[in-house]
């Protein structure tokens, strides 16, 4: 299986174009949040329509899952907490998103976590992870926008800017792979990185760059490799290396 991870496209339409073109070469496309740009001159409601159309184009060529990021929150959920309510439309269109689980073949489960914004949302994420832990197959992948604290994948260049809850859940449930975004700089900074190992769990964050081509991570589970590509160059890791090696 070949997985393409992008994140934080922030309504950069040429970068969305790139993902559409690249989707034919991958079995699974993961867009890990911050699809919208709250600083753009384009009305959010217009951005939503455009982004949903991109999701459809990608879904026509590959399997795609999308999670929310903090830029994607547009209203309140049933608990009165901020949520990316427009993603309900995406789900109705057949694309797995916040709160969904996707089984791919018999050996892979993808758990898609929202940007939760209050105690009810946090509890729902934990319940979702707990439920999927009970049925985890050989390979368990999470999609979660905010990378864990104390990880080079959340290093800004001057501090860790990560999610302590995600770190706790990784330590508790030990998924195989966690796909994140949110913090734009880690791959480009000394002491930061696009990948990390927490126990047996691989954590990835592609970062963000300006221009027509997004930073991206391509994971080839068949070859056991993960590679990061950006204007600054390309790096690769061997996923089969034991932890601590």
């Amino acid at each position: 299986m070949r997985i393409l991870l992008v994140s934080d496209l922030h309504y950069a339409l040429r970068q969305f174009d790139f993902v559409v073109d690249a989707s034919t070469d991958h079995d699974l496309v993961v867009i890990a949040g911050d699809h919208l740009d709250i600083g753009s001159s384009v009305e959010l409601d217009a951005q939503i329509v455009v982004v949903m159309r991109y999701f459809e184009l990608i879904a026509s060529a590959s399997t795609v899952v999308v999670s929310s990021g903090n830029h994607d929150l547009t209203g309140h959920d049933a608990n009165g907490e901020r949520a990316a309510v427009w993603l309900d439309e995406v789900r109705r269109g057949g694309i797995p998103t916040d709160g969904d689980s996707l089984r791919i073949s018999d050996d892979t489960l993808v758990t898609i976590c929202p940007w939760w914004d209050g105690p009810a949302g946090r509890a729902a994420v934990e319940a979702h992870l707990s439920a999927d832990a009970e049925r985890r197959p050989a390979r368990w992948i999470w999609v979660y926008h905010w990378p864990p604290v104390d990880s080079p994948t959340s290093w800004t260049g001057s501090k860790f800017y990560g999610d302590p809850d995600l770190l706790g859940w990784i330590e508790r449930f030990a998924p195989d792979i966690v796909l994140t975004g949110h913090v734009h700089q880690p791959p480009f900074t000394p002491a930061g990185s696009w990948c990390d190992r927490i126990g047996d769990t691989w954590v990835f964050n592609p970062g963000r760059q300006i221009g027509a081509i997004p930073t991206r991570i391509e994971i080839d589970l068949g070859d056991g490799t993960a590679s990061w590509s950006s204007l600054a160059g390309q790096e690769q890791v061997d996923l089969r290396v034991p932890p601590g090696a």
Binding site: L13, D17, I38, D45, R53, N70, R82, E89
Partner: protein, 160 residues
């Protein structure tokens, strides 16, 4: 300030079953409807362009104001209840606040379109993504949803 539910509480209700047509593309305008419960599918040339679930959404107003045939078919996805003004022109003529609300909704959708197009020119030039413009414009024209308001309570002042 009165909302659309207050302003239309005197109107009779119509009930649709799933699959029933509210508006037929090409038909003559005249009426206005306000969605109270349920959801409606909007189709143009037989292709679904939108599903409206937002209560308070208004239907028929654009064709009424422009005096043109309906530009889309609207049908019930599930059982729906709508308030019905058979003479939409008379309703708008008699209620300035109702007219203002409808105008505000139309102005909002126009802003979606114009900001989208203005930004496209800056971002794109001649790139392939322009191929979706026609489709996006059709969807924006028909879009009715709660207004998107950004912001996170958990990270109210985010660094990213």
């Amino acid at each position: 300030m009165a909302d659309i539910f207050d302003l239309t509480d005197h109107l009779p209700e119509v009930h649709l079953v799933a699959g029933e047509t509210l508006i037929a593309e090409g038909g003559d305008p005249g009426a206005i409807w306000v969605l109270m419960t349920g959801s409606l599918r909007v189709l143009k040339n037989g292709t679904e362009v939108n599903v409206v679930t937002h209560t308070g959404s208004v239907f028929g107003e654009m064709s009424l104001l422009l005096g043109r045939p309906y530009t889309a078919t609207v049908e019930a996805v599930e059982p729906c209840v709508l308030r019905h003004a058979a003479d939409g022109a008379a309703l708008l003529a008699s209620d300035a606040e109702m007219t203002r609300l409808i105008a505000a909704g139309l102005a909002e959708r126009l802003a979606f379109v114009t900001t989208y197009l203005a930004d496209l020119k800056q971002q794109y030039g001649d790139a392939p993504g322009l191929a979706m413009v026609g489709d996006v414009l059709r969807r924006l024209e028909q879009r009715r949803a709660p207004r998107a308001v950004p912001g996170s309570a958990r990270e109210p002042d985010p660094e990213y």
